[in-house]
């Protein structure tokens, strides 16, 4: 069976390698991906229209904001699905023994985590907030923020992390993230523009219409970060304890 798997991996790998010959060459300006009307619009106009130097963030959060909204919803649905499949409510109320639960990974790990956790969280917030200018954004920053809570749960025990970021609070955070995103789009609708057309928001935001788009991207990314953080931690706590949410990994 192992041999069969190895042969299958090699055959598929060779197929993929042979398919790479049909790719346009590296940096070819006339390739299909960079020659289209849409790509050249993004490349030429992004900074002028939105005042955001990072093109990827602008495309993700502004030009294709509708897409990203449903990506966030997909992440939320994934978290809900994991809870629906794994969560085991039986005995979870009485059997939580906060004193006799696992108390983390030892003194050294706890000390190191208490030193580096603030650093990781500040860096995650920087990734969320600075996604316009450097690589980053809501998804990446949310994953790092969620990973910091996972680190807390690993080092100090899941019960301590649950006291900070309980299940109820997790779900509220996840819903609030989507609410921020959709609510920002509805706000555009109320001010007379299209759904998620940020440029009409310049009447309530400082600056002109382009700066309004830049600020709106920040708001939208914060919404995405809320959802991703909450869902990351919820997935970890459900998967590592088989849905009991106590005495985990």
């Amino acid at each position: 069976m192992k041999v069969f798997g190895l042969v299958a991996v090699f055959v598929v790998g060779l197929l993929l390698l042979s398919a790479t010959q049909d790719f346009p060459s590296w940096g070819n300006p006339r390739s299909a991906a960079s020659d289209g009307e849409v790509s050249s619009f993004y490349i030429e106009k992004t900074e002028a229209v939105t005042k955001v130097p990072n093109m990827v963030t602008a495309v993700l959060a502004d030009f294709r904001g509708y897409d990203t909204m449903f990506e966030t919803v997909v992440i939320f649905i994934a978290g809900i699905g994991i809870i629906a499949v794994l969560r085991n409510f039986e005995g979870s109320d009485s059997s939580i023994d906060y004193d006799n639960d696992d108390n983390g990974a030892g003194l050294l790990a706890r000390f190191t985590c208490s030193l580096i956790l603030p650093f990781i969280q500040i860096f995650a917030l920087y990734v969320v907030a600075h996604g316009h200018h450097s690589p980053g954004g809501g998804f990446q920053g949310g994953v790092m923020l969620g990973a910091s809570y996972i680190l807390l749960a690993l080092a100090f025990g899941l019960s301590k992390a649950k006291r900070i970021f309980s299940e109820r609070r997790t779900m509220i955070f996840a819903v609030v993230g989507i609410f921020i995103y959709v609510g920002w789009g509805v706000l555009c609708l109320l001010l007379g523009g299209e759904f998620l057309n940020y440029s009409v928001l310049d009447s309530i935001l400082p600056g002109d219409a382009m700066m309004a788009r830049s600020y709106s991207m920040l708001v939208v990314e914060i919404g995405v970060a809320f959802t991703v953080t909450a869902i990351m931690f919820s997935m970890y706590s459900n998967l590592s304890t088989r849905g009991r949410l106590s005495k985990g990994l």
């Binding site: 696992d102 990974a105 790990a109 190191t112 985590c113 580096i116 650093f119 990781i120 860096f123 990734v127 450097s134 690589p135 980053g136 990446q140 790092m144 990973a147 996972i150 680190l151 690993l154 080092a155 990994l249």
Partner: protein
């Protein structure tokens, strides 16, 4: 300077190859995790060198911080998993008879 950085990056990559062999042949699971941990920290360093080669260290250093931080998370999770949940060493049962 660029040549020195290029040589350093290539040397770093070449020295990762024995560690990858250790990932493949490592007799216990924790051997493999240690090797993955070493490659993880070295990948953070390699990212900085690649950034210097592309003249864009300010962008690549963010990746490197994220990688270094998440690498610790991985090894901590692995150590807790093998500490509490399952033994890492398959041959232990036969050895224990001999040892005790």
């Amino acid at each position: 300077m660029e040549i020195a950085l290029m040589v350093a990056g290539i040397c770093l990559f070449l020295m990762m190859i024995p560690i990858m062999c250790r990932i493949i042949i490592g007799p216990t699971a924790i051997d493999r995790i240690v090797a993955v941990n070493v490659i993880g920290t070295k990948t953070a360093v390699l990212l900085i060198i690649i950034g210097a080669l592309f003249d864009n260290v300010s962008m690549f250093v963010d990746f490197a911080i994220a990688y270094a931080a998440l690498n610790f998370l991985g090894s901590l999770a692995a150590s807790r998993y093998f500490n509490r949940t399952r033994p890492a060493y398959g041959k232990r049962s036969s050895m224990e008879v001999k040892g005790s």
